[in-house]
């Protein structure tokens, strides 16, 4: 995942002052943004179950070799290898320090039996020199950094090339009316923190969107402001389908999260269960998985 963050406030040494109380760093200053990120927006357990099920349904076998593009801290890769001793993972990301964080905080604690099966590469995800895999993932909308059709198609073509003959590329997409607006959403996470998703800008002409993640801490009300910033193009479902097919994939499937609630309810609640659709009415905000079958 691209992490164009400004330097973490946690890295700054607190200023020395005589009054002890004043020198005490805030919770935001002491926070670990990667840990908060994992808590806030990643749930590899659910995703692994879903991808395994769908891969098995389409291909008649279990996926073993995973490639996690924009892997960041390689949280997903680590969890993947924990689920089955035969499973391997390759995490690819441009950001060296984030990969190093992942080695220390995700791979090492998992023990050598797991860590030995996770390889990390500091590289562009369009790189095609790596060994072929069964399943490639691009989670958390990271591919939206590719803002032109050429760039995104090159990425999809590289992903296609990096898959074995019956491989699958899986990614996430968000959309709906709210995705095309400016807004701020808050959600409580563990550790007394509130996750803040901010869509600062959305251009209806270019579909470029500027988004940030911040966290606020209940106890001292301190804020880890815009720890992550994303400068994206919000791609629409038909665009993704067209680019994937042009890049060499044979078919593209969309999965929407099944929502609970009766017609007329103000809010629909996600159930965590994703089902394949051929046609869907637009929702205010949706999260979908896209599977591209080679």
């Amino acid at each position: 995942m691209p992490k164009k963050s400004s330097k973490s406030p946690a890295a700054k040494a607190p200023k020395k002052k005589t009054a002890k109380k004043a020198t005490r760093p805030t919770l935001a200053q002491r926070a670990d943004k990667h840990q908060l990120y994992q808590w806030s927006v990643q749930s590899p357990g659910v995703d692994i179950e879903f991808f395994t099920e769908e891969f098995t349904r389409h291909r008649g076998r279990k996926p073993l070799r995973l490639r996690e593009d924009f892997c960041g801290t390689a949280h997903f890769s680590t969890e993947w290898c924990k689920t089955d001793p035969q499973r391997t993972a390759l995490g690819v990301d441009l950001d060296g320090p984030t990969l190093a964080y992942g080695r220390q905080h995700n791979l090492e604690p998992a023990g050598p039996a797991v860590a030995n099966r996770v390889k990390l590469a500091q590289a562009d995800v369009r790189e095609t020199r790596f060994a072929k895999v069964d399943l490639t993932l691009a989670m958390n909308f990271s591919y939206c950094v590719f803002k032109t059709r050429d760039e995104l198609q090159t990425y999809f073509a590289a992903a296609c090339k990096g898959l074995v003959r019956d491989g699958i590329l899986a990614l996430e997409v968000y959309g709906g009316t709210e995705s095309m607006s400016t807004l701020t959403e808050e959600r409580d996470i563990r550790g007394g923190a509130t996750y803040i998703w901010e869509q600062e800008k959305f251009s209806p002409i270019t579909h470029h969107t500027l988004c940030h993640i911040s966290w606020r801490f209940k106890k001292d009300k301190s804020v880890l402001h815009r720890a992550f910033t994303y400068d994206w193009r919000l791609w629409t479902l038909p665009e993704l389908r067209e680019l994937m097919l042009t890049a060499g994939f044979k078919s593209v499937k969309f999965y929407f999260e099944r929502v609970d609630g009766d017609e007329g309810d103000e809010f629909l609640t996600g159930t965590g269960e994703f089902i394949e659709h051929d046609e869907v009415d637009n929702q205010e905000a949706f999260l979908a998985y896209v599977l591209a079958l080679k």
Binding site: G176, T177, S203, P204, I205, H207, T236, L237, E242, E279
Partner: protein
């Protein structure tokens, strides 16, 4: 006009307002502003090219109201209207060209053809309004159409089109516009997030309770602005401009368009695009 409305004519002793109405006339009053378009086109072309446009082609011209307005606006100007419906063009000839007189009428030609097949005569300006090109639902089809437009333009030609957008453009719902003697109802019946298939209808409602249900039906793909820019550039256009309507203090449209660096999305908006050959 839908068949049911026609059938009602013979039975009913008193003809309803719907039975007496002419859907083309209602359509023109509801969604067209040919004189405004002519002014915007000429101004935009002059700004981009430094001289006046003379020849104009109106794709999906329907009743050719814009062709007639173009030819009326200046004695040198010529217009070519292209549409698949001969019936609608005949209506337009009787309504706009014949009354405009021989001089204006002689400078307007109407061709019943697929807009993708017309490449001659070359023109200064081609336009496709009222989102009609949304009928091309496949990217390859729209690219073929834009490529044909490009090939049919003079070297410094400009292509002008309009588009619809906003957070509510992708939602289902109806909007009413009261014209006094009738209500224009725009219905977005279906939007599919996977394909962006977009089904819309125009209905006309009258004070006596009668209506012309689904006077016009559209089976479209709602193309997004960046998609249009991408396809126009791929078709060979060198530069693409998106305009935006200025609003007054109350947030109402002023009819004045500018080229913005950044604008916030709105609930519903329509705007012009200019693509330079």
């Amino acid at each position: 006009m839908p068949r049911s409305a026609l059938a009602d004519k013979s039975k009913s002793p008193v003809r309803t307002l719907a039975a007496q109405a002419d859907r083309h006339a209602l359509y023109e009053r509801s969604v067209q502003d040919p004189d405004g378009d002519v002014k915007f086109f000429a101004r935009t072309y002059r700004k981009l090219r430094g001289h006046d446009p003379v020849s104009m082609r109106e794709d999906f011209c329907g009743t050719a109201a814009l062709c007639a307005a173009w030819a009326r606006s200046s004695p040198e100007r010529t217009a070519l209207g292209v549409d698949l419906s001969q019936e609608t063009m005949n209506w337009g000839t009787a309504r706009h060209l014949v009354p405009a007189g021989r001089d204006v009428a002689s400078r307007v030609s109407l061709v019943c053809a697929d807009v993708r097949s017309v490449r001659r005569p070359k023109v200064d300006l081609t336009c496709a309004l009222n989102f009609s090109y949304y009928c091309f639902k496949q990217r390859a089809e729209l690219l073929e159409y834009f490529t044909a437009v490009h090939a049919g333009l003079n070297r410094d030609g400009v292509f002008l089109l309009d588009m619809l957008g906003g957070t509510e453009a992708i939602l289902e719902g109806t909007t009413d516009n009261d014209h006094g003697d009738f209500i224009y109802r725009w219905e977005q019946a279906k939007f599919d997030a996977f394909s962006h298939d977009f089904q819309c209808y125009i209905h006309f409602l009258f004070p006596d309770g009668s209506k012309i249900y689904r006077a016009y039906a559209y089976d479209w793909r709602l193309w997004m602005a960046p998609e249009l820019r991408d396809i126009l550039l791929e078709a060979g256009f060198s530069r693409v401009h998106f305009y935006w309507e200025k609003t007054d203090a109350e947030g109402e449209g002023t009819g004045i368009f500018y080229e913005p660096d950044y604008v916030e999305n709105q609930e519903i908006w329509w705007t012009y695009i200019a693509a330079e050959r």
